[in-house]
Amino acid sequence: MPHIGSRMLDRELKKGSAELLILSLVEDQPRHGYDIGALIERRSKGTLKFNVASLYPLLYRLEKRGWIQGRWVEKPGQRRRRYYRLTASGKKVLAAQRNSWREFVEAIRQITGIEHA
């Protein structure tokens, strides 16, 4: 999705997709906050950026809901970092969100004729 115009649409889309993005990223392995933020930015080639002020509150909210769980992990020679992993209930939410997102994208495509994002 290159060039979506208005800032408002941008914010709403980000908000709607952010949960899905984070849950997807911690699905395979636990990641710390910086890692998650950097991956989103890199994989979206800079289109999607989360700053600290929005990323961490979001992580805390997901954790609060019990979808992910954060844990301080210490590795030799490093500072301890907080790693987030997907919980069992998070797995179910992720599957559900993936489905509805797929249907949503398909619907948009049907109407707008936009091919691959």
Partner: protein
């Protein structure tokens, strides 16, 4: 690298986040900014540019706090070691449990002391609850037992509010009442079983044929009685108990239809009752149909039945009482001679069977509850002391973000683990205790033989264990959760459990322990006092060196008066000739067997008393040497002799109460009385002597008027008890005496061989039971309280070692230091005793029915027990205090 913390903190400042959690958020976010900064530097930007890029991450001043606010109540449950929110309850619990187990293993001494206290407390509760459960709570083993009732004659006017009904009254009740599905009568009967093997004396009952269907009990083998068998002439059928069937007939299935020789007549066995069946009492072995004769069914003067009824489902106890009162009133009108002032009383069967023991059991249950409370206080004290040692650990946990509730949970897990272990050990103690308890429980208590631990008991124990853990764990847990973190983390900081609040809790615990123990000790003291009075009570005879046994002559064989008299003559003579025998006698009923006969008398020259106000006199038919044999003191006149025979003038010996009652201020010797109505002049009986009162029915009841007639003159009751005064240990003569009986009649059964001492003890078995148990519990309470006081004093002295050292270094005398230490302990104890005295004053009233000869607030008992407790407490304070004075001042000062 720049420090972002201040920057982040200012943004979080407007939110009220717990400090511990705030520091975590700051740490996490700062790391992120570090990473951003480093990555910018790596791309070749200047320090200033990199710093700007990193700070952009925080956006404007309000973004972060606004976003965080949206995370509703951010981080209520902190990610402390052990997890987070509610979803982690189970893993948290498992972790706490593992930790608790490790902790107990590390302190075996502490664990063992705590376990002993808890196991004693819980074990005692389990044992007593098992008894309460079996005797009071478990439904009687009959169909719909709550609808079974007993119906009595209410003869309150002559002192018998629950009297056994006469047959004619029973028949009228049965025929006229509408509230009952059925009503059955039961009469005592004993049987001489002869034929195969030794002749045997067996207890049994004559019962209405409908008794078994009425109770809803089926036989184990065969059948019960048919209505046709409940008729005179066709009633030679018998049911036997499981115990008799096993013991005498080896559980032989072919017993049904076999003949049985009972009292010289042949009965046919129709059934065997199940092992659990015991009705009305556990020593009944035979049941035969009651089959009233026409004469018996019309008799309103012989009161000997027990009547059980089953209420219709629609009827209640009150309704039954109302109807029975109406019927009784009608019978009063109809039969003024026999039924004047005679009412009817309905009581539940359960009440009838357990009513006597209920108050004692409930008091014991309350008592063990108090013992457990003391144990709780003890363990709470131990835990408080340990919590003081664990302040550092708690501080670290809090620093890592443990919330207060989480800490409390952890402490409670530890205490519940401890109490559950205590419960398991307690079950073992209860099991052993029950074996002991069954040896002491009076045998005539309903279901006493059935006492056991069942699922309900296990559930009770589990519940009590968990509750116990929560109770004694709460104080230390709250204490731990309310301490000052920074103070503790400082090296050498004073921990709060030794501070004023810890000291206060500990003091309170000791005070309550003392108060509760005092209540228990006073209760036990009152019962012991009662029991001693009972034991020292003069029963009117001397129980030592007396051997007794039942020798009941079967009626058909000994129907003629002369033949019976001859037997007793031979018996007494033969036994008196035995070596070691001083004298022998027979009587209709020995004292304290809770049974016997009474008759209404008339007095020469006085009008016959109106119906309902007869002169009822306890009557015993004895052989002349009875008074010598029983050592019943003679007051005036002469004794019965061998010359008072049925051809000579009839004579009677009366008791002092009878003399006082009927001839106040007169010499009764020479006066004449009649047993019942006088038909002929020779029916008059002359009073020839007066003896001291004997407690005939029970030790605690005031003696009623009594009289003694010779078996050679009075044939209306037959002697059944033989009593032998010996020079030697009476039990050593049992076999010899029995052999002497068989030499006269080889088919004559001998049963209930007991010493008079045993009968005396049996008669106060209930009092002994409650007294012994309460004394044991009070002793446990005293030991626990002493240990508790000792523990607290040791701890407080240890805390004050430094202070004591300074005092001693400054020249304080040993005595002064001792006084200082002991006075603290004594202050607590005296406060506890004051509270305990007030509580005991209020509580001991509930046991007034168990007391004899002392009031529930007996000042002597209260004073002595308080003094005892002060002495024990003083000793428990003195020992640690004494140790304190042995402290070397130099070491004490170095002690920090």
């Amino acid at each position: 690298m720049p420090d972002w913390r201040e920057e982040i903190k200012t943004r979080l400042a407007q939110l009220s986040i717990e400090p511990a959690h705030e520091s975590e958020i700051v740490e996490e976010l700062a790391q992120h900014l570090d990473d951003v900064y480093q990555s910018a530097m790596a791309q070749g930007l200047s320090e200033h540019e990199a710093r700007q890029i990193a700070l952009q991450q925080l956006a404007d001043a309000n973004s972060l706090p606004n976003e965080l606010k949206r995370v509703q109540k951010p981080f209520r449950e902190a990610p402390v070691p052990g997890g987070t929110g509610r979803t982690n309850l189970l893993p948290d619990f498992m972790q706490d449990l593992r930790y608790a187990i490790r902790l107990q293993r590390k302190n075996p001494g502490f664990t063992i002391v705590a376990l002993i206290a808890l196991a004693l407390g819980i074990g005692a509760n389990t044992a007593i609850f098992s008894v309460v459960n079996t005797v009071l709570l478990r439904p009687l083993p009959y169909k719909d037992p709550e609808r079974l009732v007993m119906v009595w004659e209410d003869a309150s006017k002559v002192g018998y509010p629950r009297d056994t009904p006469a047959a004619a009254n029973f028949v009228d009740w049965r025929d006229q009442s509408t509230v009952f599905e059925g009503m059955a009568a039961i009469a005592d009967e004993s049987f001489n079983l002869t034929g195969a093997g030794d002749p045997e004396r067996l207890e049994g009952r004559r019962v209405s044929a409908n008794l078994f269907p009425l109770l809803g009990v089926d036989p184990q083998l065969g059948r019960t009685f048919t209505p046709a068998e409940d008729q005179p002439g066709s009633n030679r059928v018998v049911l036997m108990s499981y115990a008799l069937w096993q013991r005498r007939f080896g559980g032989d299935n072919s017993i049904i239809g076999k003949p049985l020789n009972l009292n010289g007549e042949t009965y046919t066995v129709v059934g065997v009752m199940p092992a659990r069946f015991q009705f009305p009492s556990s020593d009944d072995d035979l049941w035969v149909p009651i089959a009233f004769t026409a004469e018996e069914a019309a008799n309103r003067n012989r009161h000997y039945l027990q009547v059980v009824g089953r209420l219709k489902p629609s009827a209640g106890l009150e309704q039954a009482q109302t109807e029975m009162t109406t019927i009784a009133a009608r019978l009063q009108q109809q039969y003024p001679q026999s039924n004047a002032d005679l009412g009817a009383a309905v009581t539940s069967l359960h009440e009838h069977l357990v009513g006597d023991i209920k108050p004692a059991l409930l008091i014991l249950l309350g008592a063990v509850g108090l013992v457990l409370l003391i144990a709780c206080a003890n363990v709470a004290n131990l835990l408080l002391a340990r919590a003081a040692v664990r302040q550092k650990e708690i501080a670290v946990r809090v620093a890592l973000g443990a919330r207060r509730w989480r800490l409390i949970r952890q402490f409670l897990t530890e205490s519940v683990l401890l109490s559950t272990l205590g419960g398991i050990v307690g079950l073992g103690i209860a099991y052993g205790g029950l074996i002991l308890l069954k040896a002491f429980i009076p045998e005539n208590i309903s279901q006493a033989r059935e006492i056991s631990m069942d699922l309900k008991v296990l559930g009770f124990t589990f519940l009590v264990s968990v509750l116990t853990g929560l109770i004694f764990g709460l104080a230390p847990a709250l204490q731990a959760a309310r301490f000052n973190q920074t103070e503790t983390l400082k090296e050498g900081g004073r921990d709060s459990a030794t501070g004023s609040s810890g000291k206060r809790i500990r003091g309170l615990l000791v005070m309550s322990e003392v108060a509760v123990s005092l209540v228990l000790l006073i209760g036990a003291g009152l019962l012991i006092n009662s029991f001693l009075r009972l034991r020292n009570l003069d029963p009117g005879f001397r129980a030592d060196n007396l051997l007794t046994m039942k020798v009941v002559l079967p009626e058909p064989k000994y129907e003629e008066f002369e033949r019976r008299t001859q037997f007793y003559n031979d018996l007494v003579q033969r036994i008196e000739g035995l070596a070691g025998v001083k004298s022998a006698a027979v009587t209709t009923n020995l004292p304290l067997y809770r049974q016997g006969n009474s008759i209404g008398i008339s007095i020469e020259g006085r009008p016959a008393p109106p119906p309902g106000q007869e002169n009822i006199v306890v009557t015993r038919i004895v052989s002349p040497k009875y008074f010598d044999t029983m050592s019943i003191p003679f007051l005036s006149g002469r004794q019965l002799t061998d010359h008072d025979i049925n051809t000579s003038p009839r004579v009677v010996v009366i008791s002092e109460t009878m003399a006082r009652r009927y001839w106040p201020n007169e010499d009764p010797v020479g006066k004449r009385i009649g047993a019942g109505r006088i038909q002929r002049p020779e029916d008059w009986i002359q009073v020839i002597g007066v003896v001291k009162d004997v407690r005939q029915f029970e030790l605690t009841a005031e003696p009623r008027p009594q009289m003694y007639l010779s078996y050679r003159q009075a044939g209306f009751f037959e002697p059944r008890d033989l009593v032998v005064k010996t020079d030697v240990d009476p039990t050593s003569l049992a076999a010899t005496v029995r052999k002497a009986v068989w030499e006269i009649d080889k088919d004559q059964p001998v049963s209930n061989i007991k010493t008079m001492e045993e009968i005396l003890l049996d008669s106060i078995a209930r009092q002994r039971f409650s007294m012994l148990l309460l004394a044991i519990f009070a002793a446990v309470a005293l030991v626990l309280a002493a240990v508790g006081i000792y523990g607290v004093m040791s701890y407080s002295v240890a805390q004050r070692t430094h202070e004591i050292g300074i005092r001693m270094a400054l020249g304080a005398q040993t005595g002064a230091v001792l006084k200082l230490a002991v006075s603290y302990g004594l202050k607590l104890v005296i406060a506890g005793i004051a509270i305990g005295l007030i509580a005991a004053f209020a509580l001991t009233r509930v046991m007034s029915t168990l007391l004899f000869g002392v009031t529930a607030t007996d000042p002597m008992t209260f004073t002595l027990i308080s003094l005892l407790l002060v002495c024990v407490a003083a000793l428990a304070s003195y020992i640690p205090a004494r140790r304190a004075t042995k402290v070397n001042p130099i070491i004490a000062l170095r002690y920090e």
